[in-house]
Symmetry: C2
Subunit: 184 residues, 2 copies
DNA sequence: TCCTAATAGTTAGATTATCTAACTATGACT
DNA sequence: AGTCATAGTTAGATAATCTAACTATTAGGA
């Protein structure tokens, strides 16, 4: 988690947070093959963007008292309403985290009355998790902001750019999925 | 921090980690204006990418026993060699984190002999931080991987796509910088 | 049927990266 | 000299993870 509220800045702290500039500089000193430079440079920008996109979302969600991980959990539960019952194990699998982590997240959400646990009648080891009406209300309150933050990421691209970017994004998506997907 | 080593998976856990599919579905149910859909959809992909790009970097750096935050610190110190002396406060400003956080990071790095602290003679409140030869050696060992991971993010894009993407990236960069930059 | 295996969930304890608030020197300015 | 600001640290918190060990409970084979 990282929040950048509060502000300790004083007069002489004009320096901006470390951008990518310095890294590019270092790269030029460090990298041999000139051909790669451009890709690396773009990769660096992507890395920087990644950090900051998540930040922006964090900041936008903060007023609702919820974080992305927790919203993810609620959305997952919401998507499952009316389908098969869902258990902590199932949640862990779908979110790609450990059962123990799910327990912690559920504890937090349950304490606020946004989810509820109910023991399964058939298999008493299992627990059925569901989102409560209050949880659903929260999600409905948060979603407009969530979508609008998503959409606003592309604010400065024109129609033509969006069109190309769409294709590029889907390639990147596949590409990263390959890198990350196998092991889990 | 999030590492995805270890593997608890068993036979029936075929379900992939929650992708973006479900969110798109939810969006379709939730969003009114059809015009926005495409942007939101792309924003969602960007959000997903962000998470996973950082993951990939984490995983690639892990073998070196260092994380991105810590590498960032070392790179910053390396860039400052031979220039003005740098202090924890300065580091905090440039990395966009609190002085207290810098203290923690420095403690960790110092314990491993990768950075050193030295009291300033002129102003005894200040401390000059520098990277040690060992720290420099580590960075030099890590950098090839770092660059190659950056570069590999674009692996699947062809020359034409890279060209357009470059421009798009710089727009996105500016755009996010606007959103995030003012407050700090 | 009984025993061993596996499975579900939780607990305990750790790590990473942050934060705020309070504290200790030290320096600067009136 | 006295007050105020600055530098760094400490203490204590939170979020999101993890692993390992533990407790029920079920399932499957001998």
């Amino acid at each position: 988690m990282e929040r950048k509220t509060g502000n300790e800045c004083t007069a002489d702290q004009q320096l901006p947070a470390l951008g990518i500039g310095p890294y590019l500089e270092l790269m030029d000193k460090t990298t041999a093959q000139d051909a790669d430079r451009k890709s690396i440079r773009m990769g660096l920008v992507m890395l920087w963007l990644s950090d900051n996109i998540l930040d922006v979302m964090d900041v936008d969600l903060a007023p609702f008292g919820i974080t992305e991980s927790k919203l993810d959990m609620l959305l997952l539960l919401m998507l499952h309403e009316g389908r098969e019952l869902i258990t902590p194990s199932g949640i862990a699998d779908r979110l790609g985290i450990r059962r123990a982590s799910v327990t912690a997240l559920l504890d937090w959400l349950e304490k606020r009355g946004w989810v509820s646990r109910e023991q399964s009648a058939k298999d008493r080891r299992m627990i059925h998790v569901s989102i409560t009406p209050e949880g659903r209300a929260l999600v409905n309150q948060v979603l407009p902001t969530f979508w609008s933050t998503c959409g606003s990421l592309l604010d400065d691209l024109d129609t033509e750019e969006r069109k190309v970017f769409e294709k590029i994004l889907s390639k990147l998506h596949q590409s990263i999925e390959k890198k990350v997907g196998v092991g889990r």
